[in-house]
């Protein structure tokens, strides 16, 4: 029900939205909760376990009951708190966890069975039969008990991540936060002021007392205007600081566009990482409910929430209201309502000595001990010294006192301290380095107290930052003492709710203690108190007070459970913002990419690089056709392949040769300038790390190539070796992978092709096998290496990357004229398998130089990384699985990578495995599948028969073991 003349909403701007399909109207400035209450809708949700009818308990982000789903289809967002969601024109709101409807929920029968559902019910009941848990019980329970569901379709919503830096982060824009920000801002430090609310002011927006003669909201507006005018202050509204992390970093969630109609372009939310030299926590306090029988009916809410709805949104949550509390603060609710013309049916104060004045019935030393009304509150029962009395009412405003919001101070394992005078936990100083706490979150509950602490916190912080603050005069504000007497639960038999979100009652906590779950952490897990979206903000202290009582300990000894980030829910989509689709990983494209894609080559990812699988020509319908043709092409004429993706590292310096001798197993100091050598690199543990060719361009200048996949790892390794192991060596490294576009030109006609392009002709004398040197192509300085990964007469030509695309075209044009063309990764793989060359399929991180038959490449004349470790017992000898070639010899001709090798006489079981297959390919050259793999004592078993078994694909093939090199073992073709 709207109350005339109240509220900060804009009555000139009506806004219509729907709730479960019904069109409703609110005003700009309304939340879903305030707009529903204005429309006299109190029933907003069903509870988690018992499907009890529920309305709002609070008016803030701590709301445990009124969880809703907004929007529809893939845009839908479940578990949105109705108290946080601002309404906008056309907003669709749906209730959750109810079927068929919110008004009649079939699973409401759970409530009747409540005596069976006490704490530990699931653990005790669904124990047997064991197998039923996963298949029967859990799905059933999940269906019955739950929150909102996800849409099941991928959301197109955008999210953002961002970084911010400041001298001072002020968390909370209530009186304490505003005062702190004003003082710090005026002193000129970089301030970020973050508040989860859309409007600054905190409780000032919900209370009737003013500041400095202005209304609370006007004072806040003036303060925020002054802050907004300062260049060194950044105001972040709708931004919840969700976590405090190491090195003064804070996580924060900003609701960017959730308050207006979904747009394709705007991010829904932004997850901030804010690095602040100092921080001031001014997070305020949350009012706690009182546990009494049936204290969960729609219409029962905290007293401060009633004031918020009345003073901020101009809504009376009922035509008449009963106020019930244990403190003076609750009286304000009755006075505010009365002043606004709302009928106050009674004020009930549990303290016998409470002093109350007011034009309404007052009961002191009395308690509300029960309620009636199925879908909404109809009456409450009051127990006084003289008996019980039933009072008809639509709303109960209850207050059990205030809990300072200490959560962020506990994120780095700090524990709050108990203060007896306010019966609350307050932050322990220094729990977060650089953080000062101020205002209600620190236990200062008056406006004056908040302003004074905010100012003091600013002064302390400014001093720590080495700045001088000029203390301004504190604005006049109320300084009412906070008088209260603890009241956690009203005695009685029925169910009295502590945790509304998880349907945990006083009884459940007592039951947990009785079953010896007496530690607060055990109690929490046994009863589920404090879980889900509100994380126990409303119930934590009440529950542990009950636990303390039944275990006979005090509250400080009982302690709290651990508050962890996030303070309020953060969508995973916000944390992972930008990582979908193309944002998942960068795409590395070669200079030939465009041309390759135009030739309709399917691309595969290698590392982050995109490389062509094969180049289909008209008439080819299967990749094998293309691959076979490309292999034959390279063997018969000439092929062109972009090999720019291989790592290229420029190594220079007076000690470059010594450095390479140390990182490679073989010797590079003896390599002549203008020559290339194959090198093998070990890890420190003696396992093979990488291989590749390294060219010596001059005495002090080498260019190393690495495999595509290990380029980054090798660079890191080299830097480690240089910086940590051999800092005395005068050598420097830089990656030139990106600088050069490099193409393999392979096949018997490779020289012919190059001589059609190079500015000077080459022959076998000027460019023998393993030569390198500068050449010129089209007037551009290029590098030529005569190396081969195919076993053919082959070269690699490198030009500065800007010419890569152009050179690729030129190479292919020339190749086509010679009957050749481009080839892809499939053909490259077959060519190297035929030749017995290894890749990371073989040197996969567990094999040694001995395993691949290269132990003689570990030079004994010098030390190198991994040399000693490679000689360890167990890394050499017949027991090792050694690199072999495989060829099918039986009726089955197929070989598969990943298959295991067995003695044909043995069953194909794990304990009989003698090795495995690493690479396979159909060799058009040999007309048969070829494989490479590792076989126990393999080098001594050439000519023997082994059984290849692939249990995954159901393949069993008899193979002959041979040496890995089948194509041109003498190497005549490469040298020719």
């Amino acid at each position: 029900m709207r109350v005339n003349g109240k509220g900060l909403i804009d009555r000139s701007r009506p806004v219509s939205f729907t709730f479960d399909g019904t069109r409703l109207q609110g005003f700009a400035g309304d939340t879903v909760a305030s707009a529903l209450l204005a429309n006299d809708i109190r029933l907003m949700a069903r509870s988690f376990k018992y499907h009890r009818p529920r309305g709002v308990l609070s008016a803030g982000s701590e709301e445990p009951n009124a969880l809703i789903t907004v929007k529809r289809g893939s845009d839908a967002e479940p578990n949105v708190r109705a108290t946080v969601q601002e309404i906008y024109e056309g907003l669709e709101v749906r209730s959750q966890n109810a079927w068929p409807s919110l008004g009649f929920d079939a699973l409401g029968v759970n409530d009747l069975a409540a005596p069976f559902f006490s704490a530990g019910f699931y653990y005790k009941t669904f124990m047997w039969p064991r197998a039923f848990w996963e298949r029967v019980y859990e799905p059933l329970i999940r269906r019955a008990a739950g929150l909102g569901g996800v849409s099941g379709t991928a959301s197109a919503a955008e999210y953002e991540k961002a970084f911010a830096f400041c001298d001072l982060l002020v968390i909370g824009a209530g009186p304490a936060g505003l005062m702190a920000a004003l003082e710090a801002g005026r002193a000129g430090v970089d301030v970020i002021l973050a508040d989860e609310d859309v409007q600054a002011g905190g409780r000032l927006l919900s209370e009737t007392h003013g500041v400095e003669g202005l209304s609370g909201s006007d004072w806040a507006a003036r303060a925020i205007a002054e802050l907004a005018s300062m260049e060194n202050v950044r105001i972040m509204a709708r931004t919840t600081v969700t976590g405090a992390y190491d090195q003064s970093t804070f996580g924060a969630l900003e609701r960017v566009s959730q308050h207006h109609a979904p747009s394709k372009d705007a991010p829904r939310a932004c997850f901030w990482r804010i690095v602040a030299k100092r921080s001031i926590l001014a997070a305020g306090a949350l009012e706690r409910p009182v546990a009494f029988q049936n204290n969960d009916r729609p219409g029962i809410m905290t007293a401060s929430a009633v004031r918020s709805y009345l003073n901020r949104w101009g809504v009376a949550p009922g035509r008449n209201v009963v106020v019930f509390g244990n403190n003076d603060d609750a009286h304000r609710t009755a006075h505010d309502l009365r002043a606004a013309g709302v009928h106050v049916a009674a004020l009930v104060d549990s303290r016998p000595d409470a002093r109350v004045t007011g034009d309404f019935p007052v009961f002191t030393g009395a308690q509300v001990c029960g309620s009636t009304g199925r879908q909404g509150l109809e009456a409450v029962t009051i127990r006084t010294q003289s008996g019980t009395e039933k009072i008809a009412t639509e709303c109960l405003a209850m207050s059990g006192g205030w809990n300072p919001s200490v959560h962020l101070t506990c994120h780095m394992n700090g524990r709050p301290e108990w203060r007896d005078d306010i019966a609350s936990f307050v932050p322990k100083g220094g729990a977060i380095p650089g953080m000062v706490t101020a205002g209600a979150c620190n236990g200062a509950f008056s406006t004056h107290g908040a302003l004074a602490e905010g100012q003091a916190a600013a002064m302390e912080t400014l001093e720590a930052l080495g700045k001088k603050g000029a203390k301004s005069d504190l604005p006049d504000a109320e300084d009412t003492p906070y008088r209260m007497s603890p009241l956690w639960a009203v005695g009685g038999t029925g169910r009295a709710w502590l945790d509304f979100q998880n349907d945990v009652t006083v009884k459940d906590v007592k039951q947990a203690a009785k079953e010896n779950f007496r530690s607060v952490e055990h109690m929490k897990r046994y009863t589920t108190q404090g879980m889900a979206t509100d994380q126990g903000k409303n119930s934590n202290v009440n529950a542990l007070a009950i636990l303390a009582d039944v275990t006979g300990r005090g509250i400080p000894e009982t302690g709290t459970t651990t508050f962890r980030p996030p303070y309020s829910p953060v969508p995973i989509a916000a944390m992972g913002a930008g990582a979908q689709g193309k944002g998942f990983a960068p795409e590395r494209l070669t200079t030939s990419h465009h041309s390759t894609v135009k030739r309709k080559a399917p691309m595969i990812e290698a590392g982050m690089w995109y490389r062509p699988s094969y180049f289909p020509v008209p008439g080819e319908s299967h990749w094998r056709q293309s691959c076979d043709r490309e292999v034959n092409m390279v063997r018969d004429t000439v092929g062109v392949c972009d090999v720019s993706t291989l790592g290229k590292i420029d190594v220079q310096g007076p000690d470059a040769a010594a450095f390479l001798d140390f990182v490679y197993t073989n010797t590079f100091s003896t390599l002549k300038p203008g020559r290339v050598r194959y090198g093998l690199m070990l890890r420190e543990d003696g396992t093979v790390m990488d291989d590749g060719t390294t060219a010596r361009l001059s005495d002090t200048h080498y260019v190393m190539t690495t495999t595509t996949a290990a380029a980054g790892a090798v660079m890191r390794h080299l830097e480690f070796v240089h910086q940590c192991l051999r800092p005395e060596l005068d050598v420097s490294m830089i990656s030139v992978t990106e600088q050069w576009a490099q193409f393999a030109v392979a096949g018997p006609k490779s020289r012919e092709l190059l001589n059609g392009l190079l500015d000077m002709l080459i022959d076998n004398d000027s460019f023998p096998f393993m030569a390198c040197g500068p050449v010129s192509v089209g007037g551009v300085d290029a590098r030529l290496f005569r190396i081969s990964f195919s076993g053919e007469h082959a070269y690699e030509i490198a030009v500065p990357a800007r010419y890569g695309a152009s050179l690729f075209e030129a190479l292919n044009e020339k190749a086509a004229a010679l009957g050749g063309g481009p080839y892809g990764m499939e053909a490259l793989n077959v060519l190297r398998i035929e030749k017995g060359f290894i890749t990371h399929a073989e040197i996969h991180g567990r094999v040694t130089a001995f395993d691949i038959g290269m132990e003689r490449m570990i030079s004994a004349k010098k030390d190198c990384i991994g040399q000693t470790m490679a000689a360890r017992p167990g890394l050499l000898g017949a027991e090792r699985e050694q690199l072999v070639g495989l060829k099918p010899i039986g009726a089955v001709k197929q070989l598969t990578a990943g298959a295991h090798l067995f003695d044909p006489e043995n069953p194909a079981t794990r304990e009989h495995s003698e090795g495995y297959v690493t690479s396979v390919g159909f060799s058009p050259t040999m007309g048969v599948f070829l494989g490479m793999g590792f076989l126990k004592n393999g080098r001594a078993r050439h000519g023997q028969t082994v059984k290849l078994v692939d249990h995954m694909r159901g393949i069993e093939t008899l193979c002959e073991v041979h040496g890995p090199v089948l194509h041109d073992p003498e190497g005549g073709k490469t040298r020719g």
Binding site: I734, V736, R802
Partner: protein, 186 residues
């Protein structure tokens, strides 16, 4: 090596190679108060002075070298013991004192300019780029999303961004997405 055996094939080269810039065809892109465009670095070379040779290098080039994270003239700090000389002639004699490596084609160089440039970068670059902390000429090795980045503030509202040439497409994609999302806020 028998370079002398090579036979020159006449005066004119037999093929004409065309140069292509890393972000060719992708830029410029403007949105809101920011513009993203490709920068032509010109000749760029890394200079890594050999042990104890920094003085000799400075003398040979006739200019001082910057401290970590700073720029001096055309020389920008690039990495540990490594500098990048942009659009500068490097005398051959310098090779005695330092490792010189051509980097002209290795980097995609972009310029992000405009009043909201800092805000766009705040979406992608995890370091403090506030004017008060990261002034004109300041530079850093950091990240742009998942990509390696060398960033220099070149003006009050202008930055030079260097990342791998092969990642040019992703660079443009990530930055333009951040520009779009920022501009779509209201």
């Amino acid at each position: 090596m028998g370079l002398s055996c090579m036979i020159r094939k006449g005066v004119r080269p037999v093929v004409e190679l065309l140069a292509k810039s890393p972000a060719e065809g992708l830029l410029p892109y403007a949105k809101g108060a920011v513009e993203l465009s490709e920068l032509a670095l010109g000749k760029a070379a890394s200079i890594a002075p050999f042990k104890g040779q920094l003085d000799a290098v400075e003398k040979a080039l006739g200019q001082g070298f910057p401290k970590v994270g700073r720029t001096t003239g055309h020389v920008v700090w690039f990495s540990q013991g490594q500098y990048l000389a942009i659009a500068m002639d490097i005398p051959d004699a310098l090779g005695k004192y330092a490792a010189i490596t051509d980097q002209s084609d290795a980097w995609c160089a972009l310029e992000l300019k405009g009043a909201a440039a800092e805000d766009v970068l705040a979406r992608l670059v995890p370091i403090d780029l506030r004017q008060s902390q990261f002034k004109r000429g300041h530079c850093a090795r950091t990240q742009l999303g998942h990509m390696p980045l060398h960033i220099t503030r070149t003006g009050n509202d202008a930055f030079r961004l260097l990342s791998f040439r092969s990642m040019a497409g992703t660079m443009v994609h990530e930055i333009s997405r951040a520009m779009d999302l920022l501009a779509a806020r209201r």
